[in-house]
Symmetry: C2
Subunit: 81 residues, 2 copies
Amino acid sequence: MNKKAIVYIRLKDGVLDPQGITIQRAILNMGYDAVSSVRSGKFFELEVSGDGGKVEEQIQDICRKLLANPVIEKFTVEYEK
Amino acid sequence: MNKKAIVYIRLKDGVLDPQGITIQRAILNMGYDAVSSVRSGKFFELEVSGDGGKVEEQIQDICRKLLANPVIEKFTVEYEK
């Protein structure tokens, strides 16, 4: 069965996010007052196929070993049909 | 009212995604067979406050002018309480 796995990668709480800070400063400098903080993250959309349990195990492995840096990042996975 | 705006930025369809291609190749080289394609994207979590309509207008402006490159990227915004 084909489906889509979306892996979201965020910095752990407490890890400094210089990109977010820079963007927040730029937003203020542009004159917008609605935004009080910015955190940046990334995501990967994976087309996956195969047996549900085995696929989810592979995705967890791939996240831990390849996509996320476990020292400073955390990840979550969502599945879409 | 405080809420969170999450801005998702994806490459437009048809725009080459070298990071996604490299990751897909790495996944294959690691011996995993479940993943047939990878597309990369980024997101920004913005803490926002103020009147709903005005805030959403500011966020749209910020996306167009600062966060996304409209030549190759598209963006979507979701709001969370």
